[in-house]
Structures are given as structure tokens and as C-alpha cells.
């Protein structure tokens, strides 16, 4: 599998990396900064007095993870029920109630959601 995808920078803006908010504004006004970041991302950040320490990494990670969870919710909310049979129950805090029909020969066991009576 190989799928080439062009990143839309506007979409990435929803990741609210507060540690680099000022830098993001600076990039828009200073094209050479963007080039420097492309050439050596870490050095360019440090040149802008951004200290890449554990606290920085953790903060960025937390913000990244939060956005992923938000994206999942947004996307799943937009999908029809047929495409989120498990997620729907989990998001409501309910256990998955499955009926499993066993097929010993093929080992393809058929699972269906047991509807609440």
C-alpha cells in the first residue's frame, strides 16, 4: 500500500500547538524561516528560542492527542449508524453485547450486536 497525500496546511492549524503559536504567525511573515524549518526543523526551532525539552514534548503530545480524540468524535458523529456499530455503544458507555455464532470449520465466527430488549 502506498498512498500519496498532499497535506493541507490549513487543516493542520486545528491542532492548537500553543507552544509554537507565535512561531506559526512569524512563518507567515518571514519566508526564510519556513525554509529554515524545512531544512532543519529542530535547529530552526531552537534558533527561535524554543527549548525542546521534555516539558515541551509532553505539552505538544497532549495537545496532539486531544485533537486526535476530537477528530475521532467529529468524524464518528458524521458517519451513519451502520458504520459505527461498536463505537456507538462505547461512546454511550455501554458494554458491547455480541451474539457470536461459532463456526469451528472456517473459524469465521459471525458476530452481531445484540439489541437491547
Amino acid at each position: 500500500m502506498k498512498k500519496v497525500v498532499r497535506i493541507d496546511p490549513k487543516r493542520i492549524k486545528r491542532f492548537n500547538f500553543t507552544s509554537v503559536a507565535a512561531l506559526r504567525t512569524a512563518v507567515e511573515n518571514r519566508p526564510e524561516l519556513k525554509t529554515n524549518l524545512s531544512r532543519n526543523f529542530t535547529e530552526a526551532l531552537e534558533a527561535e528560542n524554543i527549548v525542546i525539552d521534555e516539558a515541551f514534548k509532553q505539552k505538544v503530545h497532549t495537545e496532539w492527542r486531544a485533537q486526535i480524540q476530537s477528530d475521532i468524535k467529529t468524524k464518528m458523529d458524521s458517519l451513519p449508524e451502520s458504520k459505527k456499530r461498536y463505537y456507538s455503544r462505547i461512546s454511550k458507555g455501554e458494554p458491547l453485547k455480541l451474539k457470536v455464532k461459532v463456526n469451528r470449520k472456517t473459524k469465521k465466527h459471525i458476530k452481531t450486536i445484540r439489541e437491547e430488549s
Binding site: 500519496v4 497535506i7 493542520i12 509554537v20 524545512s38 477528530d71 456499530r85 453485547k97 461459532v102
Partner: protein, 524 residues
């Protein structure tokens, strides 16, 4: 309840007992028996004492048969041959028909039906009386014969095993040692009808049951075996406590997702990766090479509860405790060198870990499951689980394509690793102890009534030929019968060989005795 409250009831048909009598006869379990009877006459001069001894040799001329009497007793009919030697060298030969009282019993250690001979009585005697013996002598010989045959059948032979091993005491996947075998206790025995005798047995120290409540469930088959549900629970509990079957199983795997799997999330996946790489500061083209997951689960199974239902069904419940992990990765290539090693970005493989989830002690309830009781390839009474209702309180907030995969995998792992439910050990084991004879059981009936399982089977033995003392040549140019060790017997083509346990049967089938090994029966 046809098993009368006993753990196990074994029923055997008269036909099978007679088949095994034939086997016993063929295997030489009725050997020739000889002895000396001394006439009880007082004050015999020393020089005449040797003439007071009457020597006898007794043998069974053909395989005995067994009969169930109308009074629900069992008798064995046998035709014996007896040779007397009197006055030192004078020989008399008699053929005699006996009826022997038989006590059926069940051998707890071999789990075979057997009969014990208790009393022999003479029905008819044919004497080759070339010497025209006076009646009082014949009467005396009859008395001696009765004593000899009684001693032969009640002291020399005493018991004959008359069935295959009805069930094993070995359960599957158990550690070695007698402490891990089922213990068998005798309950009672009863002749149920003019054809069937039943032995009631208890397991693992249980004492209970009423022999008068036991009924015939053989349905015309050679053997019936009834197992009470209480016994099944005891056997299963015993097995579960001791089995080497892994109650805890760890499974791992990995899976590459194809784009159709995550089509709904393709933009999000790209964004998540790009955000991790650039913090939104740099434009980049990304090639998504792979999206895959590593996952694993340790499943700890608890002992199931089960309940027999009509229609060979069983209801099961229980639970599985699971420790599960899931790691999801995306491997990418970019046109710019952006890998800066901030977090979860592997510069060498260009891999971003998107999810790293784990949960411990997740209790998956098997709310109810349905199974079918069946006899497996090893003749064990087992349960095949056909349907389960599972409750899985997994709370992972991840895209549906990942949930779909991991839940399906966990459920498959649970189902495929379900410990067996062992209800009863192997029934009618193939080997006959102390012989090369084997039996094949055709199970013709398995009926689950709520409190018990009733099984009936026919038995076919093979390998008896290796014990037959006579072999006939069916080649129409020969049609002779030989002793097994006759050199001419070895020259018979395999396809022309027919084995006989009984010479008279071979002769009456049209075979002539071999001139070398059976000259007394050679007539051509």
C-alpha cells in the same frame, strides 16, 4: 430418569456377551483341565490304591453360549468333553452338556462386564461305552464328572471378561498419576429383561441410586451407557481442578489495514501524522506506506457452569478475564527531511505511533452460551459450543475500523481458545486388554434428557482371526482345514484363508481335515 440416580449405568445385550464368549473361547480362555479323583473307599490294600484313582481331562468342545432365563437369571450352556482314565490305563470319553449358573458383574478396575461361574450342572451325557459299563459305574462317573466340571468352571476359570472396556478412567489433558484418574465404585447389577443386564456405577466417591429404577435404554444395541448429569458435573469439576489444559492463553498478532478499511479516516490519519511531524509550521507531501496494528491479549478462563437441556443441548455460562493491548502505527515517507525526533516519531522507519492502548482485567461475561453434546473422535462425551452471548465492556475511543478489527480478533481468540467441557471420558475403548483384538463402536443413539445422557452403540470386533486355532483353505481345489501351525496352513493364499475357532464348525462348513495335521478328520 432411566439411570436410576446412579452416576453411570452400563447395559449389555445378550448378543454381545455371546460374541465375547466366542472371543474368549477362541483366545483359549477355556483351557483343558485335568485332575485325579480318588474313590472314597476305605481299607483298600496298598497294592490296589492306584486303582482307586480316576484321572480326568476336561475341555470345552465349542464356544459356550449364554442365556437369560425368564426368571431374570443368566445361565451359560456349554458342551464339554471329558476323558476318564480308570484302573491305570483304561480310557472313557464322554461328551457332556452343562448348564452353569452365571453371576454377571462389572469389573471396576478394567471397566469390563464379566461373568462369574457359580454352579455347574450336567444336562446330558453321551458315553462312548464300548466296554458296556454297568449302570452303577456310569452313575459314579457322572458324579465324578460333575465334581470335575464344577471345579473347572468355578475354580479354574471363575470369570470371563465379556465386553470391551466400557469407559476409560483417563480424562483428556490430565497430568499422569492415578490421583488424576476417575475412581469407580460399584453400585449394583440387575438383569433387566430376557436380553439385557445392567451395571450401575458411581464415580468419585458418590453413593446413590436405586437399581430398581434403572430401565433398558439399549434400543436393541449391544451396549447402552447412561450418564447422569450430576456425574458430568463431578467429572468436569474433577477435570477442571487438575487439567493441564491452559486456562490462561496469550495471543498476539499484527495486521495491515488496506485503504478501504480506513477510507473514512484517511484525511484524519494524514493530518495526525503531518501534525506530529511539522507542528503545522511546514508544508509537506506525505506518502502513507502502511497503516498497521500490533495487538495481543492474555485470556484467563474461568470454569463454566452448564445445564443439560432436551434436544442434546447444553446451556453454558462463565467469564473470561482479558488483558489486551493495541498499538497502531503509520509508516510514511515525506519529500522533506522533517523528522525531528520529538515524540513517537521513528526517524529510521518514518513511523508514527498513533495509538497505544492497553486494558487489564477486562471481564468478558459469557452471559449465556449454547452447545451441543456430542461424542467426539476419541469417543468422549463433549460439548461443542455453537453460540455465545458475550458482554464486553471495552471503552476504547478509537475509529471504528480499529474497533472492528480488535473486537473481532478478541472474540475469535476467546472462541478458539475456549477450554473444552469434558462431560465423560472415552467410551468403549478400542483395545481389549491382554489381546490384539480391537473393537469399533458405532454410536447409534445419543439422547440428552435433562438429567442424563443416554447412549447406545453396536460393537464390531476385529483381530479375532489371530487367535483362531484352525485355518481353512477356501480354494475350491483344496477345501481343507488345518491346524494353525500346520506347514500346509502357511501355504494358503491370504485371500483363501478362513479362520475358525471351532473345528467342528469348519468341518460342518464342508472343509475336509488336513491329511497331515488333522488325519482323524481327513476323509478324501
Amino acid at each position: 430418569m432411566e439411570t436410576g440416580g446412579y452416576d453411570v449405568v452400563v447395559e449389555v445385550n445378550e448378543t454381545l456377551l455371546n460374541d465375547f464368549f466366542k472371543l474368549a473361547y477362541c483366545m483359549g480362555q477355556f483351557p483343558e483341565f485335568s485332575g485325579v479323583y480318588t474313590l472314597p473307599i476305605d481299607d483298600v490294600p496298598e497294592s490296589l490304591e492306584e486303582f482307586m484313582d480316576i484321572g480326568y481331562e476336561v475341555s470345552i468342545a465349542e464356544e459356550p453360549s449364554i442365556d437369560f432365563t425368564s426368571a431374570h437369571n443368566i445361565v451359560m450352556n456349554a458342551r464339554g468333553q471329558c476323558k476318564f482314565t480308570v484302573l491305570g490305563s483304561i480310557e472313557f470319553e464322554l461328551e457332556v452338556e452343562f448348564t452353569i449358573g452365571v453371576n454377571p458383574s462389572f469389573n471396576q478396575s478394567t471397566r469390563q462386564f464379566r461373568v462369574e461361574f457359580v454352579e455347574a450342572s450336567i444336562d446330558d451325557v453321551e458315553l462312548n461305552d464300548t466296554l458296556h459299563l454297568p449302570n452303577n459305574v456310569i452313575t459314579k462317573l457322572n458324579e465324578i464328572l460333575a465334581i470335575a466340571m464344577d471345579e473347572y468352571l468355578t475354580e479354574e476359570i471363575t470369570t470371563i471378561q465379556l465386553s470391551p472396556v466400557i469407559f476409560s478412567t483417563d480424562l483428556p489433558m490430565m497430568p499422569p498419576g492415578s490421583a488424576n484418574q476417575l475412581t469407580v465404585g460399584m453400585g449394583n447389577i440387575k438383569v433387566l429383561s430376557s436380553q439385557v443386564v445392567a451395571a450401575a456405577i458411581n464415580l468419585l466417591g458418590y453413593t446413590g441410586g436405586n437399581i430398581n429404577a434403572v430401565t433398558d435404554f439399549t434400543s436393541g444395541n449391544h451396549i447402552g451407557l447412561g450418564v447422569n448429569e450430576g456425574a458430568m458435573h463431578r467429572v468436569y469439576d474433577f477435570w477442571w481442578q487438575r487439567t493441564t489444559w491452559p486456562k490462561s492463553v496469550t495471543e498476539t498478532g499484527d495486521h495491515d489495514f488496506d485503504p478501504p478499511d480506513f477510507v473514512d479516516f484517511i484525511d484524519e490519519l494524514v493530518d495526525w501524522v503531518a501534525a506530529a511531524l511539522t507542528l503545522g509550521l511546514v508544508d509537506v507531501d506525505v506518502d502513507i506506506d502502511r497503516v498497521w496494528a500490533n495487538y495481543g491479549a492474555t485470556l484467563n478462563f474461568s470454569k463454566f457452569e452448564f445445564d443439560l437441556k432436551p434436544g442434546n443441548k447444553v446451556e453454558i455460562s462463565g467469564s473470561v478475564t482479558a488483558d489486551i493491548y493495541l498499538r497502531v502505527y503509520t509508516q510514511i515517507t515525506t519529500t522533506t527531511e522533517l523528522f525531528w525526533g520529538l515524540w513517537e516519531v521513528d526517524e529510521d522507519t518514518s513511523t508514527v505511533k498513533l495509538f497505544d492502548l492497553s486494558i487489564s482485567g477486562l471481564r468478558v461475561d459469557i452471559e449465556t452460551a449454547e452447545g451441543k453434546v456430542y461424542i467426539d473422535d476419541d469417543n468422549q462425551l463433549a460439548v461443542d459450543v455453537t453460540e455465545l452471548d458475550l458482554n464486553i465492556p471495552l471503552n476504547w475511543d478509537i475509529p471504528e475500523f480499529l474497533l472492528n478489527y480488535v473486537i473481532d480478533w478478541v472474540v475469535d481468540s476467546i472462541v478458539d481458545n475456549l477450554p473444552p467441557i469434558v462431560l465423560f471420558p472415552a467410551m468403549i475403548t478400542q483395545a481389549i486388554p491382554d489381546s490384539t483384538v480391537t473393537v469399533e463402536a458405532s454410536f447409534n443413539k445419543l439422547v440428552i434428557d435433562e438429567p442424563e445422557a443416554l447412549i447406545a452403540a453396536n460393537i464390531e470386533a476385529s483381530g479375532m482371526d489371530s487367535y483362531a486355532p484352525y485355518v481353512a483353505n477356501m480354494n475350491l481345489d483344496s477345501m481343507e482345514v488345518h491346524k494353525r501351525d500346520c506347514e500346509w496352513a502357511h501355504r494358503i493364499a491370504y485371500r483363501h484363508k478362513k479362520y475358525y475357532c471351532n473345528l467342528e464348525e469348519a468341518l460342518s462348513s464342508g472343509f475336509d481335515g488336513c491329511a497331515y495335521c488333522l488325519p482323524q478328520h481327513h476323509t478324501r
